[in-house]
Symmetry: C2
Subunit: 333 residues, 2 copies
């Protein structure tokens, strides 16, 4: 029931997802009076769905503390279904703060994971890149950064299909002495980790350059860096639109270059990157943008399917077993 | 003597700068055996210059601690000339770490400024934006952020010529409760400041959107955000180049749209944004990119001239006098 054009966009997205994942079953939770007429228009979604009725939905702007009390809300019932083992994961286009708070409280973190992190896939000049944390934790210590690296590694294997993803720790320079104690300590532990392919420190421009497959940072910096990069790409799209409508010759130029420009537009289509994942919980939790369309929502479902089917959680457990926890015990910051 | 093609680029840049600032005099410090023959080719620079000889120059990769010992180096002699009141500011394309360390130690911070900050001008959809700190301080407390806002305000008046620049504090959301104590405390003080036009929290995408004239953040986040935005713009430039060389039709399309595309390229030309400023010292210190050309170096000189001629330091003193220092006393971070 969450998102700007819910539940219409969700059902249209589910129609696409049901087509892409023929074996999958979906538990659809919400107001059946609204859902049933829409399902008539989406036969594949209807065939793949089990409906569960609730009249309550968490409003988009409700504070997480209040949302936690709405035990009958559709989002809460979906997360409860994950906790009960009834479903493997949840996809929501609703209130982000409420989803994160509910998921943490109901699903709990994996053993040995201190804090869950928000991760997403973002484009680079050398293929897709995974970045975390994107804002679940505005303050992080070195232990958190190491856990993020282990989770990012597992996600890159599951979602990007890479056998040995390279991992970079975001810093203000690539030399070993740069940054604060927190990133330097995390780098020491990551360097010694037996199963992670740690590249070392990377800088802001390495995100779009695709220097590494996984970018690790704290939630404050990660949130700001992701939105800065998205903002720069959006500015360029807007300016190009102005360029190609600035004169008749420019319009003709656009038409001539259109096949290649369309490929570029497709490549940077934000819908292809829809679906941020809350990593580190007992269950898969994917957040779709509230303003996306059916194609974007279907992509968020793809991400959840990849996480579920590629043994993401087992891989994290392996990675965690290899950290020397003593090295990080009593870590300040 | 600093930068990739020094001193050739520096002198060619000075030739342009001397043309733009007919009243200005430049003290040129370096190896006169190398400088004199080059000056023959640059009559305007030669007429506006006083030469001072030293055979020593700080190498590009030298650690700041070692650079501090080179008392006869050209960079050191230039900063000493600022300290002696002989010149109003210094522009260097040399070793950044050495420049920052030397400037802090030799020039000292302005009274009541705790730490200097690195600032630069960056493009947005609604005009140029000033951003700081870009890496001078990887850890900042709320008092530092408030000082950065006062310095950014003064710089926006001097360099962008704005009578009342709007100021935004970078955060993971624009709501008052977002972020950590540090940014929330700084926002409280900025809100109460009598002469600052404080807009509130801004997010990563607000940088290129041009929501505010001045973006304030800590040096860790600022360095990463700036480089992330630059990286995204560079990726787009590279991809557009690929688009317009991908087929004969696309090449023709490029030629037709060229006037508008050239304006776009000019607008985002990194040389127009060359010249980062170390703010908060007793004297103007501008760092040019080491890899820039004559036009970029001349722009760094422009920035220094603006700072000197627009009463930057006086404005900072005014702004500082208005902060309630008690409010921030004993601030943890």
């Amino acid at each position: 029931m969450g998102g700007d054009d819910a539940p219409g966009v969700v059902l249209a997205g589910l129609e696409l997802a049901a087509e892409r994942h023929p074996g999958a079953k979906f538990l659809l939770i919400g107001d059946t009076a609204k859902l049933e007429p829409l399902l008539e228009q989406h036969p594949r979604a209807r065939a793949a769905c089990i409906l569960r009725h609730t009249p309550d939905a968490i409003p988009g702007e409700m504070k997480p503390t209040l949302a936690l009390r709405m035990r009958g809300a559709s989002m809460r019932m979906a997360i409860d279904a994950v906790a009960a083992g009834e479903v493997a994961g949840v996809v929501s286009a609703g209130n982000t703060g409420a989803l994160m708070a509910l998921a943490k409280i109901v699903l709990k973190t994996l053993p040995e994971i201190d804090r869950p992190a928000l991760a997403a896939v973002t484009p680079s000049g050398r293929g897709d890149v995974i970045m975390l944390d994107l804002g679940a934790n505005v303050q992080c210590d070195s232990r958190n950064l190491v856990e993020f690296a282990i989770m990012g590694d597992a996600m890159a294997r599951a979602v990007l299909g890479l056998p040995s993803p390279t991992i970079g720790l975001l810093n203000v320079g690539s030399e070993e002495l740069k940054g604060d104690d927190r990133v330097r300590q995390a780098a020491e532990v990551l360097k010694a980790h037996p199963s992670l392919n740690f590249h070392g420190f990377v800088e802001g421009h390495d995100i779009t350059r695709g220097t590494v497959d996984v970018i690790i940072t704290d939630g404050f910096t990660g949130n700001i860096a992701l939105k800065t990069g998205e903002g720069a790409l959006k500015l360029m799209r807007d300016l190009l639109r102005q360029v190609f409508t600035s004169s008749i010759l420019a319009r003709i130029g656009y038409l001539l270059a259109r096949p290649a420009l369309d490929r570029l537009r497709e490549w940077m289509d934000p819908r292809r990157y829809n679906g941020a994942i809350l990593l580190g919980l007992n269950g898969v939790v994917v957040k779709s943008h509230g303003g996306t369309d059916a194609m974007g929502f279907a992509h968020a479902v793809d991400v959840a399917m990849d996480m579920v089917t590629h043994g993401f959680t087992a891989r994290i457990r392996e990675g965690l077993a290899s950290i020397n926890t003593r090295e990080l015990a009593g870590d300040p910051s």
